[in-house]
């Protein structure tokens, strides 16, 4: 998995408000944005980026496309992503929130069959500081460095990146897998990618209540990850069963009346600790723990 400024990137939904605001920012940051896609707007351009009606129309002029960042309206995202896959795009970042879950199920099935990486939805995307912005991370808060940051939220990710940056700890990459109930790429996938990434020395994992991603991540860390991991889990004080704004924060149960303890902050923190992962009590604690881990020798492969 390589994410560099050499990646050829398109922006689908480039005329949506969010897409139109971030397209020039992504480009200004050094991302090679070769085309924007918005059906019905073909022939125009936005911040110098040529706009096409379809992904495949861009291919003759720009060649193979590595990545698409999708800002389309929620009900148009599935089709946009399938269109990108049909045009040979194999990395897709879904920024848009509120995609119907069954659209995601359909998309994930197709992504699996075509070996396409789907990041998101409801995700600020990926940033490789000073190299590449695939989404809406605020670049000012990030600096290049060796901390790999993986989260499933948006502004809390910025908060933690900023606390690292302020402490002099730059980031090799920051990625949010997205806050909606059904997301494409998972914590274990990204843990694996960062474990194998030469630029990353330590991994910060930012979780929150709801779902079982942190429990699964903890299991994966214990089994397969060699680099040190620091975690933080938001939502210790959250009232149970209250919506905090996105589905990740609903403590869900499998079906009516079948609710195990999975999903609570306690369950997640306990699982991470059992896996040997230090869990910060507050965001500002993360840089201290990262520093202490960087001074320890890296776990050896067994």
């Amino acid at each position: 998995m390589n994410f560099t400024a050499a990646n050829k990137v398109i922006i689908q939904g480039i005329i949506e408000p969010l897409g139109a605001s971030y397209a020039p920012l992504m480009q200004a940051y050094g991302t090679t944005v070769v085309a924007g896609i918005s059906p019905g707007y073909g022939g125009r351009s936005l911040a110098g980026i040529p706009v096409f009606d379809m992904v495949e129309q861009a291919l003759p002029s720009v060649g193979a496309i590595d990545t698409s960042v999708i800002f389309s309206a929620p009900y148009a995202v599935l089709d946009a992503a399938l269109e990108a896959i049909a045009a040979g795009v194999r990395k897709i970042v879904l920024v848009t929130q509120g995609i119907p879950p069954l659209d995601m199920v359909h998309l994930i099935r197709t992504a699996e069959a075509t070996e396409t990486l789907i990041v998101g939805p409801d995700s600020p995307g990926i940033i490789v500081p000073n190299q590449l912005l695939l989404g809406i991370h605020p670049p000012d808060l990030y600096r290049p460095g060796s901390v790999g940051l993986i989260s499933r939220n948006g502004t809390l990710t910025y908060e933690i990146a900023w606390s690292l940056t302020q402490a002099g700890l730059g980031q090799s990459i920051a990625v949010s897998i997205g806050g909606d109930a059904i997301v494409g790429s998972t914590f274990p996938q990204w843990l694996q990618i960062l474990d194998e990434d030469d630029q990353t020395d330590v991994i910060v994992l930012v979780g929150e209540i709801g779902g079982d991603s942190e429990e699964i991540a903890a299991h994966h860390i214990a089994e397969a990850i060699e680099k040190p991991v620091v975690a933080y889990v938001a939502g210790r004080s959250a009232p149970r069963d209250r919506r905090m704004g996105h589905a990740g924060a609903i403590i869900e149960s499998q079906a009516t009346d079948f609710g195990p303890d999975v999903g609570t902050a306690e369950s997640k923190i306990a699982a991470l600790k059992r896996a040997g992962v230090p869990v910060a009590d507050r965001p500002s604690e993360i840089p201290e723990i990262v520093k202490s881990l960087l001074q320890q020798p890296v776990k050896k492969a067994v």
Binding site: T96, P101, V105, P138, D140, S237, G245, D257, S284
Partner: protein
């Protein structure tokens, strides 16, 4: 969005899942023109489960008893919820009761079929026997058959239940449901099946493409306005976290809001309300929209007379710090009369306006921080750069205003 039992059963009927003959009862007098034969079950139509144990379901054999029972049920709150409607339903003699559900499993990112040969009110037994089938590829009826077989069904019942599961899945897929559950699916001595109770949860994000389902929302005070995947409305009334609390939290994004509240609680603070004005990943999100939501959020929080301090924590890429500062400044300077009310303005709220506003502790991360600082310097707000310090500041202020 949850559906009431009678709404769920209408969906079942529409796709050919057998349900007993039934009639919606809006008032006890409706029972005089009942078209189904006695004995019937009268069932409280509430969103909360377990109504059977709480007296929300009664079997009656004649009109007099039915009307009396209806009066009782209409006046019996189930866990605080009073029914607006009852369902009168023909009795069905069951020999066996099954549990069936289709639900989305978010961690495997696939729908799963659940089934138990021991359904009914005893949920623990149902769970002990629960079987699960993951629908890993496009659905085909053999997934349903796989579940029915795993449940131990045989012969004709195997095929009949497979057919019911297939229809449940059809609903699940075509209507974007989070859950469709039948418990119990009753089997009588002849081997006929009947869905005696059902639960359907519609996915909120998908409601915008299911106008017929959106119209079933009996709880929305907005009425039947079309749901669309726009920026979620802010709540009209904030729920209370700690009734003794004096601090309100306003932040952007669910994770950040939770983290801010966690910090406050860890430091011994008591938040009474919290408000997430929304993250940054909405395709319609513009700085203007976010500023508007910030101002509406402040309006909402400051209505609560008990709040002494509002802690604002905005970390944003979309919104520069100076725009946040301008919004806050604008909010503080607004003449009360021109504030556009979010809901109907009650006298009680107008009254609260003459009270002094709570102190605003503002913590901002983003671009143009220095401009924000200059703007806020002209206001009575307290700007803090560091999150931990902002928490401490809020707590100090509450203690000071307390004394």
């Amino acid at each position: 969005m949850d559906l009431l039992e009678y709404q769920a059963k209408e969906l079942f009927r529409g796709v050919g899942i057998p349900v007993p003959p039934s009639q919606r009862i809006d008032r006890p007098a409706d029972l005089k023109s009942l078209a189904i034969p006695y004995p019937i079950a009268l069932k409280s139509q509430v969103y909360i489960g377990g109504r059977g144990r709480l007296g929300g379901v009664r079997l009656v054999s004649n009109t007099i008893d039915a009307i009396a029972a209806a009066h009782t049920i209409f006046n019996l709150p189930i866990m605080g919820e009073l029914p607006k409607v009852l369902l009168a339903e023909a009795k069905f003699d069951s020999k066996q009761e099954l549990y069936l559900a289709v639900v989305l499993n978010r961690s495997i990112r696939r729908p799963v079929l659940l089934g138990s040969a021991q359904g009914g009110v005893d949920v623990q037994t149902a769970i002990a026997q629960m079987q699960q089938i993951v629908v890993d590829q496009e659905f085909s009826p053999f997934y349903a058959r796989r579940l029915a077989l795993k449940m131990g069904l045989k012969g004709n019942l195997l095929n009949v239940v497979t057919d019911v599961i297939e229809r449940m899945y059809g609903l699940f897929l075509s209507q974007d449901l989070d859950l469709v559950e039948i418990n119990p699916l009753a089997v009588n001595a002849e081997g006929d099946v009947m869905a005696l109770d059902g639960k359907v949860t519609v996915n909120d994000a998908a409601l915008g493409r299911h106008a017929a389902l959106a119209a079933l929302d009996t709880r929305s005070t907005q009425g039947a306005t079309p749901h669309k995947p726009a920026l979620a409305r802010l709540p009209e009334v904030l729920s209370t976290v700690d009734p003794d609390g004096q601090i309100g939290i306003l932040a952007n994004g669910a994770g950040l809001t939770m983290a801010t509240m966690d910090l406050l609680c860890q430091a011994g603070g008591k938040p009474i309300n919290f408000l997430n004005i929304g993250g940054e990943t909405h395709s319609d999100a513009l700085p203007e929209t976010l500023c508007q939501r910030l101002e509406q959020g402040l309006e909402l929080l400051t209505r609560n007379k008990q709040i002494k301090v509002v802690l604002i924590n905005i970390v944003s890429g979309t919104l520069s710090c100076d725009r946040v500062a301008e919004s806050i400044s604008k909010f503080l300077q607004r003449p009360i009369s021109i504030v556009k009310p979010v809901g109907p303005v009650k006298d009680e709220i107008r009254l609260s306006r003459v009270k002094p506003l709570p102190t605003l502790v503002v913590r901002l991360v983003g671009s143009q921080f220095q401009d924000a600082k200059a703007t806020l310097a002209k206001t009575p707000t307290i700007l803090v750069e560091d999150l931990d310090k902002a928490i401490a500041q809020a707590l100090t202020l509450v203690r000071n205003r307390d004394t």
